[in-house]
């Protein structure tokens, strides 16, 4: 692989696009003119080929299965890309008068209502930009709730060791003190440890359920009861909601606040790292604290006239968490997906996501160690290590999978499983695809024992081999043409 950088492709004097001459008299240019604009000079074909060649170096869902645990890499329907690009949506300005954007507002209102129904919540805010921002929003809501009650000594937030990685950073950003909770031998929250912390300094618990082991907490009602009795609130990390659509509503279990990941559960694409969308749902006692703006009905309609949709600000809102109304384009995609699924389709999504995971687990456990032997939900965790070949690690397995044109699962997470391989197939993979995946995983397990060097030196067929990450961090070359100061 050797694709030049844009700055290296630049040829002085080249220009890809021209704009019309001004149709107004020219004004005198300002004093604060920049003397140099060091951007590249390229032709359109230079650019098309550069990015097309780069694109070939990527693995993507359109190419094959992407079994990253906790990432829910399901197929991204093409119709979503079509609807989100309808000019009636893309050519609307976020500050237009509400009477001119009733189509947008109706869509957002319906999406709020559906997410409330699916999650079992009394209110939903669509503004948060991604899961992590949804978490931050949720924790700020919890803090605001305690503060509004004058309950200011609640500074402690409990986070199980099987929770998502962003949870501790989110809590710390919100000024709370993080206490990690251990899991019991079956992968549930350790009730004794939870009880020991359930006191009047408890702000709440951040619960990922199903957790990052892919296990549904068998004591979830008891966990919620203990936290509530101590006066705390339960935050539900909705990143694993793909297991629960139409199966159980988190709000019904007593979860007080939860974020949704539209870019996981509701099929909006991951985009090579974003954009996501992280709406937040809350129980009735937290509705007043939601971020602004929410979409509401300002004037009810009747048989002849549609209602007037507009923005409302919750009474004790934590404020806004970003500019404007949220990642609107992602809301259109999620709406499109949910509109096609309906209630029945959504339940099937979770049923088949869980079926696929259990099928893989049932077969692969014969070749790999399964640390938690229970029915899993949408994902499960294997240990990528065999005592008889101690030099082979989960990382080597992951890299070897690339030689078979597969994307590896999440590895080294969750931290509570040594050499973790966390596998989430999602419902959009067929039995035939899963069988092919199984065959490769079995072959790699065999290679680990017979030809471990194949794994240690993998990948072999990718555009680049294993990278020198230490050099990257030590010498810090972070943009074109600028060498390290050292």
């Amino acid at each position: 692989m050797s694709e030049p950088l844009l700055c290296e492709l630049s040829v002085s004097g080249r220009q890809a696009i021209r704009f019309p001459e001004p149709d107004v008299p020219k004004a005198e240019l300002p004093a604060l003119l920049r003397d140099d604009l060091p951007l590249p000079e390229l032709s359109e074909v230079d650019i098309v080929r550069h990015f097309t060649r780069l694109s070939k170096y990527n693995y993507c869902i359109d190419q094959g299965m992407y079994p990253l645990g906790s990432c829910t890499m399901k197929y991204n329907p093409k119709i979503n890309e079509e609807t989100a690009r309808l000019p009636g949506f893309t050519a609307t300005h976020p500050l237009q008068p509400i009477v001119t954007v009733q189509g947008n507002l109706l869509l957002m209102y319906a999406l709020q209502e559906w997410l409330k129904e699916i999650g079992g919540f009394a209110g939903v805010a669509l503004q948060p930009a991604a899961g992590a921002q949804g978490e931050l929003t949720g924790i700020l809501i919890m803090r605001a709730y305690h503060a509004a009650r004058g309950d200011t000594k609640r500074r402690k937030i409990l986070i199980p060791d099987s929770a998502h990685g962003t949870n501790p950073a989110t809590s710390a950003m919100s000024g709370l003190e993080v206490v990690q909770l251990s899991s019991d031998p079956r992968g549930n929250v350790d009730l004794a440890a939870l009880r020991a912390h359930a006191d009047d300094t408890l702000a709440g618990l951040m619960l990922t359920n199903p957790n990052t082991l892919g296990l549904f907490d068998e004591n979830v009602l008891e966990v919620v009861r203990i936290v509530h009795e101590a006066g705390g609130l339960v935050y539900g990390d909705g990143a694993n909601l793909n297991a629960l659509l139409g199966i159980v509503r988190p709000g019904d279990l007593g979860i007080d606040v939860m974020h949704f990941n539209l870019h996981k559960t509701f099929s909006t694409p991951h985009g090579g790292g974003g954009p996501g969308s992280g709406p937040v749902g809350v129980a009735a006692h937290l509705v007043d604290f939601l971020p602004e703006p929410l979409v509401g009905i300002l004037e009810p309609g009747d048989d002849d006239t549609a209602p007037l949709y507009g923005f409302i600000k919750p009474a004790q809102s934590i404020g806004r968490v970003k500019s404007f109304q949220g990642q609107f384009g992602m809301l259109v995609r999620a709406y499109t997906y949910m509109r096609m699924q309906g209630a029945e389709g959504l339940r099937q999504v979770s049923e088949y996501a869980v079926l696929n995971a259990n099928y893989l687990m049932a077969v692969l456990r014969k070749s790999y160690h399964l640390p938690y032997d229970r029915v899993c939900m949408h994902e499960f965790v294997l240990a990528g290590v065999w005592p008889e070949v101690p030099d082979v690690h989960a990382l080597d397995i992951a890299k070897r999978m690339m030689d078979y044109s597969l994307h590896p699962p999440t590895n080294y997470f969750p931290l509570i499983v040594h050499e973790a391989l966390m596998i989430e197939p999602t419902e959009t993979e067929s039995k035939q695809t899963l069988d092919a995946f199984i065959e490769i995983m079995q072959k790699i397990a065999e290679e680990a024992h017979t030809q471990p060097e194949l794994l240690k030196t993998a990948p072999h067929i990718t555009p680049v081999g294993r990278l020198d990450e230490v050099k990257a961090a030590k010498e810090l070359v972070l943009c074109c043409g600028v060498d390290s100061p050292d």
Partner: protein, 449 residues
């Protein structure tokens, strides 16, 4: 939909697992709450769904139908078809975060290209891979500054001419921190420029935050402000409109320590407010305190140049509760769009568009200021946005404009009670002279009522 299993597949899989039906997979879910009936509309076919979404979209009035003079943080620019054709490649938009670099070099190198172009545009040494938008990028600048002084400096000096929604976002983010925010309190004199902030900078100041061009469109030399901040060891953070940097001196040349911005003008559709792009650039000395992903150059075990996410020890998934931010998912695809846009326009094209915006805005401003009853609120230099003092309420004027097919400017009274009857008007390369003449005509009619 999108579930490929046949009945035979399902039965074979259940058999392998050793259960007889799908319900058996959910025994851990409390029976009392299992399988709720969801009250949702029934699913539609793809054809019906597309028709419904078209109806929604058609219920809107858009900037394609209306002459748009609304800006205030989101701008109606020309987006070349090339931008969407690249980001619509499945290889880019259906990929995950490039945590496995051997199969993600496309995304990684594109981010490296992005970082390079943003550093060049802002005049800074390093850019991250993006934040959510212009508002959260400013909030993250505060977090960087606060962490830089290990929490020992608590004062944030904030320009009242920073976008009101950015100031609100920053306050939401900093609710958990013991910081003191000064400079933008109600009733503060808005006519004054950045020099008014200098008196607020003291030894307890972590960061001074201004916007360039500011929310009212004004453009000021920030050299003196940077010097004043640096005298007491404080940082200067500047929130920019990147389009303006096609023409104007970049903040890096004034001595800014952090440059943030809303990347939407770089080829992203208005799309009712998102997804947009949070720009974040800084100096190398602060790179380890900067939040967000970062791509660095290295070599692989075959000796080839290659790219990888680097300095990940700063980030939430490694540093956990010690991280300065929890950001994980960012705006990668929007950063790719901006990269394509910046490379397509390039050195000459970006300057051309910026100049078009500048000339058209100045023509509009002088035409409007010549109308009886109207005047420009400020005589400071501006880029493509300016404040027009009107003889009547902006709401009233905008209703007239809408009737004539014009999306009028932003009503500043919403955020600044002292600026009743003041309209913030944005002009871009998309506004023809006819659009501007129409705006002028309607405003003249309104004043003659």
């Amino acid at each position: 939909m999108y579930i490929p299993h046949t009945d035979a597949d399902r039965e074979a899989m259940l058999h392998t697992i050793g259960i007889s039906n799908l319900e058996a997979l959910f025994q851990d879910v409390p029976a009392s709450h299992r399988f709720p009936k969801l009250n949702l509309p029934p699913g539609l076919t793809e054809m019906e769904t597309l028709a419904e979404l078209r109806d929604f979209a058609n219920a809107n009035e858009t900037t394609q139908d209306l002459a748009c003079f609304l800006g205030a943080g989101a701008y109606n620019h020309y987006s070349p078809p090339l931008v969407d054709s690249i980001i619509r490649r499945g290889e880019f938009y259906t990929a995950y975060t490039p945590y496995q670099p051997e199969v993600s070099q496309g995304t990684l190198q594109a981010i490296f290209d992005y970082q390079s172009l943003i550093a060049a545009l802002t005049g800074m040494e390093v850019s991250n891979a993006s934040h959510y938008d212009g508002a959260t990028a400013v909030a993250e600048a505060v977090s960087l500054a606060y962490a830089n002084f290990r929490g020992k400096r608590n004062r944030i000096v904030l320009s009242p001419a920073l976008h009101p929604q950015y100031r609100e976002t920053l306050r939401t983010y900093n609710n958990g921190m013991p910081v003191e925010i000064v400079g933008d309190q109600a009733g503060v004199a808005l006519q004054s420029g950045p020099e008014a902030l200098e008196a607020l900078i003291d030894g307890n100041t972590a960061v001074v935050i201004v916007q360039y061009p500011d929310f009212f469109g004004r453009v000021y030399d920030l050299t003196a402000l940077a010097k004043k901040a640096h005298e007491v060891g404080a940082l200067l953070a500047v929130s920019v409109n990147p389009m303006a940097l096609g023409l104007l001196t970049p903040p890096g040349h004034f001595g800014a320590d952090i440059v943030t911005g809303e990347g939407q003008p770089l080829g992203l559709p208005l799309s009712y407010g998102g997804p947009y792009l949070g720009i974040f650039a800084t100096r190398l000395e602060y790179v380890r305190k900067m939040a967000g992903r970062l791509v660095g150059e290295t070599v692989d075990n075959r000796g080839q140049r290659a790219y990888v996410l680097t300095l990940t020890a700063r980030e939430q998934h490694i540093r956990r509760e010690k991280a300065t931010s929890n950001i994980c998912t960012n705006q990668a695809l929007m950063a790719l769009a901006a990269t394509v846009y910046m490379s397509f326009l390039g050195k000459h094209g970006l300057r051309e568009v910026a100049e078009l915006c500048y000339h058209k805005a100045h023509f509009a401003a002088s035409s409007l200021a010549a109308l009886p009853g109207y005047s420009l609120w400020s005589d400071a230099p501006f880029f493509n946005e300016f404040v027009l003092k009107c003889p009547t309420s902006v709401k009233h004027i905008n209703e007239h404009l809408l009737d004539e097919g014009v999306l009028g400017g932003y009503d500043l009274e919403q955020d600044y009670p002292g600026l009743a009857n003041h309209m913030l008007i944005a002009v871009t390369e998309m506004n023809s002279k006819e659009d501007i003449d129409l705006l002028v005509d309607v405003l003249e009619e309104v004043s003659n009522e």
